[in-house]
Amino acid sequence: MNIHEYQAKEILNSYGIPVPRNRVAITADQVERAAKEMGGHCVIKAQIYAGGRGKGGGVKIVHHPEQANDIAKELFGKKLVTPQTGPDGLRVRRILIEEAIEIAREFYLSITLDRETSRYCLIASAEGGVEIEEVARKSPEKIHMLYIDPFTGLRPFQARKIALALGLSGVVCEDCVELLLNLYKCTLEKDCFLAEINPLVVTKAGWLLAMDAKMSFDDNAVYRHREYQDMVDYSQLDPLEITAGKYDLAYIKLSGNIGCMVNGAGLAMATLDVLKEFGGEPANFLDVGGGATREKVTEAFKIILEDSDVKGVFVNIFGGIMRCDVIAQGIIEAANEVRCALPIVVRMDGSHVEEGKTLLMESGLNVQIGENLGDGADKIVKMLGQGG
């Protein structure tokens, strides 16, 4: 689960990590007022669920409140395209106005999960404000990594080593130690998947400040943080993905025209792969879950057909323990409920396969049976090819 920069900064600040003075606004007038409060000279930052905003024109320095108003008018409602948003971009609904800071030095700092060691990893680099992957490629020696032992947690001496490695000394160094310890505390308590400060800066006045922040939470842990529900900005999400989330379905919109319904993430990925292999273009990734209950199948069908790009549907269910006749019944009910006239190819495996097939063939739907994965993919691609 992602949140906005301003929300991340609020959380960091609650852990004693200093951030620039700021305001959030949803109208151009609010932006102007906030800019006036900051003394006119300030930074305007579009709030979207993606990075690379500077490159996409989402971050602007202004010198007068009127100028802030003009820029805000331009940004609000606009779809911001950055290197991370994809070609469609994300719509700007909220703007962060921040005091302008005179920067002496910039750093990169983050805590995230490292899969290889199965530990949280603290990453720090003396080069901030840039893509850390870029630094890692060009000059790996500039990146300091610490795999945190879950039994001891992050210790002050370890944090100090990092701060010194960044070239800090004296009071700022000790401030940095405290900041690192607080960031680790925040990561644990808030169940962060990623807590990133980029850049962390030392101001000309000699203070540490989190200039930009990015935070994402572990989806599996959202249940123990009730406040997270209210933090979601639905304008940043695909409406179909929101509906899918409600029914605990993993749905991702893609650019093709073949709607896909599969049980299990691995099989769903493989299904997309095989469709492409046969010359088809999947319209979505949809995992109804390994168990594939009848209710989920019905909801999944509705979501797929909601997408107007979909011209045909490929259902691939490896039922296993689930009975195929039950799944077939779910498909038929859902298709009838939404009056689906599109071609459907169903590939099923599991118990009661023959009963399931018979039900489908007698349902009156425009349906064909895929005998196996390859046959199913071939059939749906051909059906669409004939259909136009």
Partner: protein, 316 residues
């Protein structure tokens, strides 16, 4: 023989009184699995379907000599269930539960590593030694006793692969679903090592997917150590970047975890990679027949995959 479990395994089911816990316990028992106990805190003393239920794993072990645990405990208590298995000193914990918070798993993993207990999962279909013991949620009818070891990060895609293997005449020694989460107990290499040392396993089929670097690590290990032919399939060649494809672990981030890289690396390390998910069984057959004349092929000098390169990928 087989790996991890066989007909002598004595199973305790943690979370046996839950709906799916009980359903799958019954399914496993119908397959012939020796389920000796169940654990649900607060329900100790009752019997469910004739299986004695205990409050703790330790008690279950004391009275029934269980040595393997199958975990169906819901996410909030699942990490604790893993810790309890380790504390009771069992040989193996197979955790089916999906959706355990990462923070809980970081700790459970660290504790488990220091214990004598092996962990498979979480978020996995389980382990099956066909004809002997089934521990998990996989459909049993697709399996057939044989000589191929299967190791996979996926669930239903594993069923697809196993079915293809069975259809083509290749039975399985043991199939291990290691799970789709970012933090899992046994990784590809741990399972490959067991298959390598198992006299009844003659070849291994490995199913990977996008995200992380476990497949690349496994590729290097195979090149250095594996005495048996390996075939593989990697799902997600067409997956978009930065999107979480169902599994928490299946995401391409910062140019890492791409399917092409994994496929190339496996190929360079002597693994037969199926180009299509429809060809998984064939790829295994190909790998088996290619390895027949010479059991190991030291002839193909793996210049493209030097040990140094493997290291770079690890520390990247």
């Amino acid at each position: 023989m087989s790996i991890l479990i066989d007909r002598n395994s004595r199973i305790v089911v943690q979370g046996i009184t839950g709906r799916s816990g009980l359903f799958h316990t019954q399914q496993c028992r119908a397959y012939g699995t020796n389920i000796v106990a169940g654990v649900t805190p607060g329900k100790g003393g009752i019997h469910i379907d004739g299986i004695p239920v205990f409050n703790t794993v330790q008690e279950a072990v004391r009275y029934t000599k269980a040595n393997v645990s199958m975990i169906f405990v819901p996410p909030p208590g699942a990490a604790d269930a893993i810790l309890e298995t380790c504390d009771a000193g069992l040989d193996l914990a197979v955790c089916i539960t999906e959706g355990i918070p990462v923070k809980d798993m970081v700790l459970a993993y660290a504790v488990q590593k220091q214990s004598r207990t092996r962990l498979v999962g979480p978020n996995c279909p389980g382990v099956i030694t066909p004809g002997q013991c089934k521990l998990g949620i996989m459909p049993s009818y697709i399996h057939k006793p044989g000589k191929i070891g299967v190791v996979s990060r996926s669930g239903t895609l594993t069923y697809e692969a196993v079915k293809q293997l069975t259809d083509i005449g290749l039975g399985q020694s043991t199939c291990v679903g290691i799970g789709g989460d970012p933090i899992i107990g046994m990784k590809f290499i741990d399972v490959l090592e067991l298959f390598n040392n198992d006299p009844d396993t003659e070849g291994v089929f490995m199913i990977g997917e996008i995200g992380g670097g476990a497949e690349e690590e496994a590729a290097c290990w195979i090149r250095e150590n594996m005495k048996k032919p390996v075939a593989a399939f990697i799902a997600g060649v067409t997956a978009p970047k930065g999107k979480r494809m169902g599994h928490a672990g299946a995401i391409i981030t910062g140019g890492k975890g791409k399917a092409e890289d994994k496929i190339r690396m496996l190929g360079e390390c002597g693994v037969t990679v199926a180009t299509s998910p429809t060809q998984m069984g064939h790829a295994m057959l190909e790998a088996m027949s290619a390895s027949k004349p010479a059991p190991k092929k030291p002839g193909r000098e793996p210049a493209a995959c030097s040990a140094r390169k493997c290291k770079t990928i690890k520390s990247d």
